[in-house]
Symmetry: C3
Amino acid sequence: MPSSSSKARPAPAGELAVRTERRTQLLDVTAAVAKMVQDSGVQSGICYVYVPHTTAGVIINENADPDVAADMEDALARLVPKDAGYNHAEGNSDSHIKTALVGTSATIFISGGQLELGRWQGIFLCEFDGPRTRRLRVKIVPD
Amino acid sequence: MPSSSSKARPAPAGELAVRTERRTQLLDVTAAVAKMVQDSGVQSGICYVYVPHTTAGVIINENADPDVAADMEDALARLVPKDAGYNHAEGNSDSHIKTALVGTSATIFISGGQLELGRWQGIFLCEFDGPRTRRLRVKIVPD
Amino acid sequence: MPSSSSKARPAPAGELAVRTERRTQLLDVTAAVAKMVQDSGVQSGICYVYVPHTTAGVIINENADPDVAADMEDALARLVPKDAGYNHAEGNSDSHIKTALVGTSATIFISGGQLELGRWQGIFLCEFDGPRTRRLRVKIVPD
């Protein structure tokens, strides 16, 4: 029966809301995304993470030592200073530029019903104009 | 009949050609991509945008205030100057490097037959070695 | 029979191991990924490349003139210096930051049984903390 095929239904999808605490902050969201994958029951496929904002993005990087995230926040602030004679009147051009550099989506394989992250990898929401409540959309597509 | 399954056919795909006007220019292509999604009839899925060039990329960022795109063009020029003692003889190493930083593909969810962009998000072709005619490939995969 | 559907099986996937020779090195892996696509027999679909490391990433850029890769290695070293008062004690914060800038995944369309790269595009593993043996995961999803 074609109508019973899993491909005839929308892929499992959901949204996380997270609260950031600082203007610039890398927030580890790995556990919440991993739980959505486990809850979906999908054994093999792809997990897409999408940030629907223009001053926040997403990266995959080390979550073992929190100093790595702090160093990254500092390095991005040096690369793209908050004040640099921007035209945009809202005072957050640096936030938009940082978001363009890191990107708004991430793609992670699913294998054995789990996110197939590397040993040291975690998923981070990148807040560049907080503190705010941010949303993270997740879509889980079985093979 | 397996052969009538939507998964047995190639996903809807197409190509846009756009003309850029300056050496460095962020060009809003949201409307054209959104139309391809609507024309595909796909209700739920993923829209992939791919730039087959090495001196042009694609980002998702704010398209409400054109100053944001202008600030981003300026900031990238400061980060990666046009002349910096490069080896590559064609004089466009900066264009290649900027392309590597922003990336050549974007992934956007489709929901309710529409691109599921955030409220302020648009899709921009990033020209870094124009003016030229550039191509943008779009692939629309239903769930 | 639903169980005979290609969508009921995991998508073709595999892993490449590559050896890098320098601390910072863009390594062309196009031929190896193209071979995996050809071996999969998939005619139309998407090839996902994923790097499961936190100090190595992946980009798509020019592979005709090796000077482009060398210029990119130099430019990234200027943008993110090796020593800049980082907190992370392992001495490779620059490697993590560069990885966040270029990203850990790439998405390439498959058409006519081949990777649909642009004329001058190649796929590069970006080593930022070598020399090491690195892994590259590849997943090939038919339409």
